[in-house]
């Protein structure tokens, strides 16, 4: 085994609301692509919402965490507050000027803006 085979060092935990609107799905797709690009690792917000100890403790112990909410309802943020997980980096996609709708037509330009904003939020934390 390598010296640090199982150390999660340097990994950013990415939590997205993945909600039922364009902005929820933009949050989800940004988390997927950032994971695929090696920026961080998308993790299960549902597991934290279910108060499963492995998920809650992982979120509490990780060194870097970024939370992406689609809209100002702030579901992800509230879930983490209920689980007593401190939030380090946080953004709401409607604050970027992206209008919430129920059409689910995600466009590449918005997606790239979201990914850039996530990286920026992490740099600022």
């Amino acid at each position: 085994m390598a010296e640090d085979c199982c150390a999660p060092g340097g990994n950013v935990m990415i939590l997205a609301c993945s909600g039922g609107s364009n902005v929820g799905q933009l949050a989800n797709q940004a988390a997927v692509e950032l994971t695929q690009e090696g920026f961080g690792k998308m993790y299960c917000l549902a597991g934290i919402g279910g108060h499963l100890s492995g998920f809650v403790q992982s979120a509490k112990d990780v060194s870097e965490i970024v939370v992406i909410d689609g809209c100002a309802t702030c579901c992800s943020k509230v879930i983490l507050e209920h689980a007593e997980v401190p939030i380090k980096s946080y953004l709401i996609l409607t604050d970027l000027g992206i209008e919430k709708n129920k059409h689910f037509n995600l466009n590449r330009k918005d997606l790239e803006r979201v990914k850039g904003a996530v990286k920026e939020a992490c740099r600022g934390s």
């Binding site: 085994m1 640090d4 085979c5 993790y43 998920f55 403790q57 979120a59």
Partner: protein
């Protein structure tokens, strides 16, 4: 008490297991300590990284080596 140390076997996992065993010995708590190296078994706990420590089914720490004193607090509560 049932204690599991999750991790495939790097030095951090080994140190965690050592700390757990020493904490159990120091406190005299009646506990079974098991090392879990099977990745599918580890995945069932949903942890973001390893090493992780699970006490009676509750995950207590993830991705770090818990100090012996911290482990003692968990097992004597």
């Amino acid at each position: 008490m049932d204690i599991k140390v999750l991790g495939p076997g790097c030095p951090k996992c080994q140190q965690t297991e050592k700390n757990v065993k020493e904490a159990v010995a120091d406190t005299g708590v009646d506990a079974k300590v098991e090392k879990v190296t099977n990745l599918l078994e580890i995945a069932k706990y949903g942890v973001f990284g390893t090493p992780a420590v699970v006490i009676d089914g509750q995950v207590k720490s993830v991705g770090k080596i818990p100090a012996k004193d911290e482990i003692k607090k968990w097992i004597t509560k």
